[in-house]
Assembly symmetry: C2
Homo-oligomer: 348 residues x 2
DNA sequence: CTGAAAGCGCTTACAG
DNA sequence: CTGAAAGCGCTTACAG
């Protein structure tokens, strides 16, 4: 009976208190709480009334312990300040709330060590399932969860593990859309600007770029490819170098809107005009891109659908509506949005 | 002994299993887990080894139940897709992780009903404390928590409740910076564009705008103020109306970068140039604003500091390092960042 | 239709 | 230095 140091904290009222006031047993209170059917209507009423009067809210921690289910899921993103992640998180959080489930969020900053820690913290906290928005193509921690058949859905990026559940968009065909648009405009010297190959998204966008060139009989040129692990540092140097080439590019296809916008900034600082001197296509259709001041031509993924699908499948897995035997593997199509950063190539 | 429907889920290993293998009692295992000092070094070693071997991770749910502490906090934002909220969330999530505490996130979409539900869900889930990034000036649910002295820190926006803990920036002086900059450039006909008055941020920015005009002997004109509850809908109409006035404004001070950028778009569509025809100042310094294509002059809050301070204070409250007797009320200063959307007024 | 009892997986006095 | 026991706040068979 130590005095509570936080002061007049209304000392927790429990199912036991309700039972007392209502003149029933704990079990009965619990049964009304859980919608148990065979209860006399009058006792249900009475209990409900006392609960209301005392403002009782059952303790989810205790409930979780016995039910072996917490009503929480984990959400792991690469960078919540990146619009793609925050927009999909918003969808997931809103939808989860509708189902009464809470989300524990983690931001890995694309760091494997943090990913691992987040995963194990979430498991220790007994989340019912996990959504991962950014994995590398190889990730042993994810493999372990897949093997255990722990409810897990990767979205946006997937691992190479063939048994993993994922909801991604068709990055290869997205690239094809972008590159063919450029080709139709008469461009043949097209640079590819991208993030690291260790992510399936960039890997596939890169493959799509190469295949599309090949399909149209355009030679692939390694010196036209920028695919740094650290996309922020070297872009400026790359652009300068590639523009110094005798046979320089007339167009840039960036695997990311952020990269596309940086490129726009760089070339305008160098005195060039977009799209007059260079056509630029991005990928992602983040919010800024549609801003009239930017007007970036880009490949748009259906973020909302991706996030909703991922959550829906996860919940299905959790409550057993969906069998965990067959991996869930969903590929969404993307579309090209033509705005004002692309135009006909000057020299054909 | 029902067969587990999820299959070869490695049936949960407990402190009891560890105790068995290590030849000690549960209590002892628990003691090494909790760093209890008086233990023979050899038994500690032994237990640690078994834990390692079996890959045992203690169940946080069970631990939370008995410790009456969950190691989680709640984070409530108005709109995670808004850069201000996602950037501050990132800071909070990262810092919380360093302390080993998990964050349950909620996005209210500025809806009071969702706010209330989020709050009670978090309490039921027994979070150790709550951070709220967007409250209205009046909020009875918050008042109740304040009265109970539940660990709670408001940041960015605060309620009118004088006992509430908060970390905000000085919105009034931020406005003064913006308006005086415009006045120095020779502007006297300055519009104020803002979100709803029901938020302390906008309320104070509005007050700052009015006071600064007054201080400089410039008459306040109600027709120059746009302060809709729904900022997205009516801006276009307002701009058109105000520009049709005989004595029309030469500058716009927007209480939000988003509003400022929308205004830039609107007036450019109408054929005007910024800053030649109109000067525009924003508030927030979101990422796009520094983009060379936008180059918005704006008031910058120290988001990172605000978020860090809020979390730090919350943790202090939770572990009792900070007394809950005196409200924690911190006001951070902001600065003006002059870029290229403001210039000298044409007609003086 | 209702209640007594056991138990979820831990921790914490209390004894020894 | 270590263990037996009680308990955190619920739910769930099992009896009746």
């Amino acid at each position: 009976m130590a005095s509570n140091q936080t002061g007049p904290q209304p000392s927790k009222i429990t199912v036991h208190d309700i039972a007392g006031k209502a003149g029933v047993s704990q079990s009965t209170v619990s049964k009304v709480l859980n919608g148990y059917p065979n209860l006399r209507e009058s006792t249900r009423k009475k209990v409900l009334q006392v609960i209301e009067e005392m403002g009782f809210v059952p303790d989810q921690i205790a409930r979780s312990l016995v039910k072996n289910k917490t009503g929480t899921i984990g959400l792991i993103v690469g960078d919540i300040a990146n619009p793609f992640f925050s927009e999909t998180s918003k969808t997931i959080i809103a939808k989860a709330r509708q189902y009464g489930i809470d989300v524990i969020i983690s931001d890995t900053d694309y760091d494997n060590a943090i990913m691992q820690k987040s995963l194990s913290a979430m498991l220790a906290r007994r989340v019912d399932g996990i959504l991962v928005a950014s994995v590398e193509r190889e990730d042993p921690n994810i493999d372990r969860l897949v093997e255990r058949k722990f409810p897990l859905i990767l979205y946006n990026r997937k691992t190479d593990n063939e048994r993993a559940n994922y909801v991604v968009s068709n990055n290869s065909s997205g690239s094809r859309l972008a590159v063919e648009h450029l080709i139709e405009l008469g461009h043949t010297k097209i640079c590819f600007l991208s993030g690291s190959n260790k992510y399936s998204t960039f890997h596939q966008r890169y493959e799509g770029y190469k295949k599309t060139l090949e399909k149209h009989g355009i030679p692939f040129r390694p010196e036209f490819v920028y695919m740094q692990n650290n996309p922020e540092t070297g872009l400026c140097g790359f652009i300068h170098d590639v523009l110094r080439l005798e046979d320089r590019p007339t167009a840039f296809f960036a695997a990311t809107d952020q990269l596309a916008i940086q490129t726009m900034n760089l070339v305008s600082k160098m005195g060039y005009a977009v799209p007059e001197d260079f056509s630029i296509v991005g990928y992602d259709d983040i919010e800024i891109s549609s801003n009239p001041f930017v007007g970036l031509t880009t490949v748009s993924q259906n973020n909302r659908l991706m996030a909703e699908t991922a959550l829906e499948k996860l919940l299905g897995l959790i409550n057993g509506d969906i069998s965990a035997e067959q991996p869930i593997q969903i590929v969404l199509e993307s579309e090209l949005i033509v705005r004002k950063t692309t135009s006909r190539a000057r020299e054909t």
